[in-house]
Amino acid sequence: MPEVRSITADHFDDLFLGSQLGVLSAASTYRGSLETWVHALLQERPVELVDPAEARERFGEEEMGLAVLMVGAMLSLLEYPFRGDEAVVAVRRLERTLGVRFAAMCPFNCSGPNALVAVGAASLLGLPLVDCDGQGRILPLIDQTTFALGGLRASPLAGVGPWGDVITVDSPGDRAEEIVRAAVSGAGGWMLCATYPAPVHRLVETGIQRSLSQRIASGALMQTARSDLGERLARHLGGRLVARARVVELSGHQHTGLRTRQPASPYSILLRGLSSTEPLIRLEVRNEIVVATVDGAVVGAVPDMICLIDPLRRRSVELSDLRVGQVMEVLVLPAAEAWRTPSGRAMAGPGAFGLSWPAQPA
């Protein structure tokens, strides 16, 4: 795949497909208004994608960048769609708060709506997009990032909600997550936030590098792989195909583990493997899939990314679209190196989701 220097409308299909990888609750696998809007923005103004190595040379030590994301439920965004100016309002508000002008931005993560939000925001603002993000996957909390692992702070932060409410959070005690989550609830289900204001160099140092271009490349593979998509993706991304299995049960349940900050109602997906031994695969969902077991043995756990791929449609599937009887491929893809450290595992491992499963899969 040639290096992407400018994200154009021609990259949209790859970006859209690739961004859904490892996303279940926040997935939006059908094209609608959001996707049409971002595609139209890219037709009008492509986005310059700056490689991290180039960013170190191109931006001065003092030049500031930020990350943008949509906090909240994807389904609420579908019901209460963007007006279109939220990113501009949030970024300009943060600029006024800090008294700076941002030179570049990056995605908070490149998963689900946040990949599209970042690309759309960069196009609207005419800012270059640095090819790194703060999660390398999707995680629920705004302080659950490699930016935070590297010492950056989510606040000051500016957010805009569906009813036009604008908030600015400056939390000396690092309580931005708690405050924003309450604001999202009050605002109506989502807020588009401008966050992690920091020198571009620091975002690059602490971020997960080339995550956006990797998503575009994965999307291209999903478009072109004629068969055995799960195996090909696993090979491409250094992971493994755990099982091909049929969904047999979907159920919500009460959380009985440790107390957690996660804004999630526990949910389980049970699948019966199609191999001769017909193993029982259980996926525990806390917003996204956090643990996968096969006949009781852990085969994948956060911070690794556990993905469900529909082999017939050759794409990810969204939780609200999952049906008993569907055949799925379960993939485990390795987390970025930053998450594999003790502090990374403490922040994004099973314990962070209130689960006492071992952090290291069998």
Partner: protein, 464 residues
């Protein structure tokens, strides 16, 4: 013009077969100049075709296929609905969008063909408000804005008014209130987005506007054809095919005319499965466009909820349940993972004669799959698909809940809605709940859940 507001459930009043059993079924695929029908379900499969206008050709086909009693006559009007959409016979619609802002990333009529916009767009008005995700109404109803919408409809000569409110799938009371006021003020028929359903507001609005625009012409067609069935096949229950392969009663079809558009693939797939004699299968459709894959589960085509309305309105998305069909590739099966097809027969349908027709089955058989080939004229398969159609309804909605008891209540409400819709199509239906799920809304710490209930009529496979 009478002032009417759609009720969420539209009962149909057609006569029920005296013995209450599902007997022989006739399916008729209608085009503007001909009809093709199949009679099935009584041990034989008879086919008939006739030329002429829809009413004339339908009468001729029914005279041949339904001289003896049949329990149902199911009609596929999709080509006729497409004619209405393309032929300049749409109603003018004044749209009231109730939302936080008058701006949104999706502009109604954005990307629509100018000729269609010219007919349909009888003004748009934004009213500030809606329900938030806690089920709370935001702001009071703006009486002056509602009155202005009524005046706009009169001034622009609207036939229909459409109301779409954000949050209507959590609480529909605002849409109902506004619709009642508009109806009283203008005498226009008012369509509402919560009736169209779907969890995307902008797509729901598009669906609602198109339902309103199609309603008059399609309604007249429904009445005309209904009378033909009543006259030629008395005692048979008429039904109308929807894009997800199900069938609707007359009033449901009138209220949601867009659902009658684009039925082809769902009916082909159902027809192929019925011909192959299997209620559950993976179905591969092959023609010059390539190979397309989908699945049938217990007689019901696997469906997607959001549709690009190409070729009628390319790039316009609507909330319309329709057959989920995946393009596989240029005519071969190399794009299919055999694992994805395991556990069910594979039905391969050649919609056109092919020189290499043995190639795909050989590959699939080599992969250990059971393959059944079906060859029939597409119009006949469509009619067979009609005979095999199953009344069904999937309700997807939201509820603000605060505990397991409230989860259960939300689930009960959704199930009752879905059951009522199936019974509105077929009061004799034995109901089966296929899915009944409460899904927590992720990333929110409040108790909003999505409720999904899918109910189908239990029936034996009508072999064609």
């Amino acid at each position: 013009m009478s002032a009417t507001v759609c009720a969420p459930v539209l009962a149909d009043t057609a006569p029920v077969a005296a013995d209450g059993e599902v007997g022989p079924v006739v399916g008729v695929h209608l085009r503007r100049d001909r009809a093709v029908g199949v009679r099935a379900g009584d041990g034989s499969s008879r086919t008939a075709a006739a030329a002429g206008s829809p009413a004339t050709s339908l009468a001729a086909v029914l005279a041949e296929l339904a001289p003896e009693r049949c329990s149902r006559v199911l009609l596929d009007l999709a080509p006729l609905v497409a004619d209405v959409l393309e032929g300049g016979r749409l109603a003018a619609v004044t749209t009231v969008r109730i939302a936080p802002s008058d701006r949104a990333i999706g502009v109604l009529y954005g990307g629509w063909p100018p000729a269609v916009v010219e007919q349909v767009d009888a003004g748009r008005l934004h009213v500030s408000g809606g329900h938030d995700f806690h089920g709370r109404r935001v702001g009071d109803v703006d009486e002056e804005a509602i009155a202005a919408a009524g005046r706009l409809a009169v001034q622009r000569g609207a036939d229909v008014m459409a109301v779409s409110a954000v949050g209507a799938m959590i609480d529909s009371s605002l849409e109902l209130e506004v619709a009642a006021r508009l109806s009283r003020a203008t005498g226009r028929h008012v369509v509402m987005s919560h009736g169209a359903g779907g969890v995307r507001h902008l797509e729901r609005e598009t669906t609602t506007v198109l339902d309103g625009a199609l309603r008059g012409e399609v309604g007249a067609l429904l009445d005309e054809l209904y009378d033909v069935v009543d006259h030629v096949a008395p005692g048979a229950r008429p039904g109308f095919a929807a894009a997800d392969g199900s069938w609707l009663g007359r009033e449901q079809a009138r209220a949601h005319a867009l659902r009658l558009l684009g039925t082809r693939e769902a009916l082909l797939v159902q027809g192929a499965a019925a011909t192959a004699g299997t209620p559950s299968a993976h179905v591969l459709l092959r023609d010059r466009r390539g190979l397309r894959a989908t699945a049938v589960d217990d007689g019901c085509v696997r469906a997607d909820p959001v549709r690009d309305l190409a070729p009628w309105l390319p790039g316009v998305h609507a909330n319309q349940r329709h057959a989920s069909v995946l393009p596989v590739g240029p005519g071969d099966a190399s794009g299919l993972s055999p694992a994805a097809l395991l556990g069910r027969p594979v039905v391969l349908v050649d919609l056109e004669p092919r020189a290499d027709e043995g190639e795909v089955p050989q590959r699939l058989v080599a992969a250990g799959l059971e393959v059944r080939q079906v060859a029939a004229a597409p119009d006949v398969l469509l009619a067979r698909g009609l005979c095999a159609a199953v009344p069904q309804c999937e309700v997807v909605t939201y509820a603000a809940v605060d505990g397991p008891a409230a989860w259960q209540r939300a689930r009960d409400v959704a199930r009752h809605q879905a059951q009522a819709q199936v019974l509105a199509a077929d009061p004799r239906a034995r109901l089966r709940t296929v899915a009944d799920q409460v899904i927590p809304l992720s990333y929110l710490s409040t108790g909003v859940v999505q409720v999904r209930c899918y109910v189908v009529a239990e029936q034996e496979l009508v072999r064609a």
